[in-house]
């Protein structure tokens, strides 16, 4: 224990904290004048002083160092090679979870259904971005652009081309993927970090065009989008020409909740499909190629893999999923406007992927649910949510940049059974 050193260190930290937090927290601008708020500065400086002091004291002891060393280890290795086909508890529970999710909307109100639809849309977005960032290691900061393309694909498609939800769904996916290809093809051959900034610029361009091209997109006023239909049955009190309302066809009373339940179920199916896709992709050559590119691009090129087209496939697949999510978003609200597609949305989706653990499917699902539901449950939290997400992103990167969950890789055996026999000998040593 070195109390003097720890104290000095904490003192320096406190001074820095005073400089950093003092003006912005302590002197609140009020017109051209200001109001002093000294207590909150004192509190935060106090917290930092005590925190730093305790931290320094802890790491000056052996036990403390060991404690923090755990995190170092977590950073290094969190990959495990396991036998294929072993179903985890979670894998066994998936059908039940899906079933429970499917009957859930019949027991909750319209308000919560819309919240859950939004959460599922974010799961879709998270899974899409996870393919791009988590698997292929490409940082896409303009992901929301593809989401916007999907949403406007439905709204403007129905306005100008008269297409409905079911046509818009694949069309928007293709449209978003095409935009992804046009943007990605030249950009993906460059240094990785540039992609982040180019996609960021692209995201803003799309939003600004949607905002400013009033003649086509109706600008900031937004455009209306048609709701989803079930085999030409509309979820409206009175249907348009040539359509039958859902409630008349089934001879039940009109209930505006039906429409939301329907979209809820559609989004749930989409989520299930996306989960399956992600599950399979990592076991397929293309998913392996993405991971390989993330690990070592030079090696990939030396093995005859075209890094541009392989990255592009990840980029396009992510874009297509975002496009689909956008269609659901537009159909849910019946209305889209450019304000829904600002950079903060891209950052929020990225936060979901990062907090869920890059590459982890379960993590993304949980993170998306938490990110959308917590501010709903705890109203007072919503004021601070972006602050907390930002802090968590930094902390996650420092503690566990590869995500919270241990990555599992399958053991593979030859037809002759090689690999399995040796495993018993090697198993403990390798782990």
């Amino acid at each position: 224990m070195n109390i003097k050193h720890s104290f000095l260190d904490a003192f320096v930290a406190a001074i820095l904290a005073t400089i950093v937090f003092g003006p912005i927290m302590g002197i609140v601008l009020d017109g051209y004048s200001f109001n002093l708020d000294v207590p909150r500065v004192a509190i935060i400086v106090g917290i930092i002083f005590v925190g730093r002091f305790v931290f320094q004291l802890t790491i000056s002891t052996q036990g403390g160092r060991d404690f923090f060393q755990q995190f170092e280890k977590g950073r290094a290795g969190s990959i495990e090679v396991t036998d294929p086909g072993i179903k985890t508890v979670l894998a066994k529970a998936i059908p039940f979870i899906m079933l429970a999710a499917a009957i859930l909307p019949f027991f909750i109100g319209k308000y919560w259904i819309t919240i859950l639809i939004l959460a599922y849309i974010y799961i879709l977005l998270g899974l899409g971005l996870n393919i791009v960032v988590g698997l292929a290691g490409l940082l896409d900061l303009g992901f929301v652009a593809f989401y916007a393309i999907g949403a406007y694909g439905l709204a403007l498609g129905s306005e100008y081309l008269g297409i409905g939800f079911w046509i818009a769904l694949p069309m928007s996916a293709i449209l978003a993927a095409s935009f992804g290809a046009i943007l990605g093809f030249p950009v993906l051959r460059m240094h990785g970090d540039y992609l982040a900034i180019v996609t960021l610029g692209f995201g803003e361009i799309i939003r600004l065009v949607l905002n400013n091209w009033s003649a086509f997109t109706h600008g900031p006023n937004g455009a209306s989008a048609p709701p989803a239909t079930l085999f030409n049955l509309e979820f409206k009190r009175t249907a348009a020409e040539g359509y039958t309302p859902f409630h008349e066809f089934f001879n039940i009373d009109y209930n505006s909740t039906h429409r939301y339940i329907f979209i809820y179920l559609l989004v749930l199916i989409a989520v299930a499909f996306a989960l399956r896709l992600k599950h399979r992709l990592v076991k397929m050559p293309i998913g392996r190629a993405w991971e390989a590119l993330r690990e070592n691009e030079i090696a990939c090129r030396s093995l005859g893999m075209n890094h541009v087209t392989i990255k592009l496939s990840a980029f396009m697949m992510g874009a297509a999923i975002a496009g689909v999510a956008g269609v659901f978003f537009a159909a849910k609200d019946g209305f889209v406007n450019p304000a829904s597609f600002s950079f903060i949305e891209s950052a929020l989706i990225l936060a979901i992927v990062v907090l869920g653990g890059l590459g982890s499917t379960v993590g993304v699902v949980i993170a998306a649910l938490l990110v959308i539901l917590i501010p709903e449950v705890m109203r007072e939290f919503s004021e601070y949510r972006y602050l907390v997400f930002g802090l968590l992103m930094v902390i996650m990167m420092i503690i566990r940049p590869r995500g919270l969950i241990t990555i599992k890789r399958d053991r593979k055996f030859s037809t002759k059974g090689e690999g399995a026999v040796v495993e018993t000998k090697q198993g403990e040593g390798a782990a």
């Binding site: 950093v20 609140v28 240094h191 610029g201 361009i205 602050l387 930002g390």
Partner: protein
């Protein structure tokens, strides 16, 4: 209006805007040059410095100091110092622990910091636009034919201070021991470490310099435009990054040149073509430059080490 006068007026505005982009671009280009990372939070430091400017002006007026040169000097110095500390602390807390981490980690951490800075300012200072009283009035009018274009005194201040700042920084980097160490660390961090350069300290210094230069831009822009809010660092940040790429990322003169080229191009575009799409134009330029000349105007093409 005479079209020549319009063009000249836009060029003056562009030069002003470009000087600001150049100042902010320094932070991007130096950090990228030395540790190869895009410091996403840099634009938000500029935003913080705008708040600090207003806070300093309010404080000074509270203490009854109203001599304009003294007010400007103290505000500039104080804002640079505090923003510099921000730069140092952010590097120390959020980036240094990630030096040997995965490639994406620092980038994601920087985005996290960008969130944190914006929200921290919003929560503490409110989400409304803030402003400062106008301090510099008047302009120089230059007649052109039947018409004229004008340079306001605050525009002159921006251009002069930017050029002075750039000149001083270039001197420091080219002629001093610290500058030599910075250049050495940029070329080969490992080797510099072996030769006894305290590379961590140099990296910190670069962050402080970048933040302080961003603060100069923050003070100048705030004096000129007077209003800002918690998200004003975002767009100007991307544009300054565009300027850095345009000039050749990693190159100090490139940052300034890129800034001025971008500022002028943007002003001319918004004056002669369309104001609504000026940001689209700037981002479009960014994408185009990255595709066709990723090494920029003054940058060296990178050779991949195999």
């Amino acid at each position: 209006m005479d079209s020549l006068a319009i063009i000249l007026q836009q060029l003056v505005n562009g030069l002003t805007l470009g000087s600001v982009y150049g100042l902010i671009a320094i932070g991007y280009t130096m950090v990228y040059g030395i540790i190869g990372m895009i410091n996403f939070a840099h634009g938000d430091l500029y935003m913080v410095s705008a708040y600090l400017t207003a806070i300093f002006l309010a404080l000074l007026s509270f203490f009854g100091i109203d001599s304009l040169p003294v007010v400007l000097f103290l505000t500039l110095l104080g804002t640079m110092a505090i923003t510099g500390v921000y730069g140092w602390v952010i590097e120390r807390v959020a980036y240094r622990p990630l030096r040997n981490s995965t490639r994406l980690a620092p980038l994601i951490s920087a985005i996290g910091i960008s969130f944190v800075l914006q929200e921290y300012v919003r929560i503490n200072q409110g989400s409304n636009d803030q402003g400062i009283p106008a301090l510099l009035f008047g302009a120089v009018r230059v007649p052109v034919g039947n018409d004229f274009f004008q340079i306001t005194y605050s525009q002159i201040l921006i251009i002069v201070v930017s050029l002075l700042g750039m000149g001083l920084l270039t001197y420091v980097i080219q002629k001093t021991e610290l500058g030599r160490q910075c250049r050495a660390t940029q070329m080969d961090r490992k080797m510099s470490g072996i030769l006894g350069i305290h590379t961590d300290r140099i990296i910190s210094t670069v962050f402080v310099i970048g933040a302080a230069m961003g603060a100069v831009a923050g003070v100048l822009v705030t004096l000129n435009y007077g209003s800002f809010n918690f998200s004003s660092g975002f767009i100007i940040g991307i544009k300054a990054f565009t300027a850095a790429v345009l000039g050749g990322i990693g190159s100090l003169p490139g940052a300034m040149l890129g800034g001025i080229v971008l500022g002028m191009a943007e002003s001319l575009f918004s004056g002669l073509v369309n104001t609504d799409y000026k940001d689209v134009f700037a981002f479009g330029l960014l994408v185009t430059v990255m595709i066709f000349k990723p090494s920029g105007l003054l940058g060296k093409p990178a050779v991949e080490k195999v």
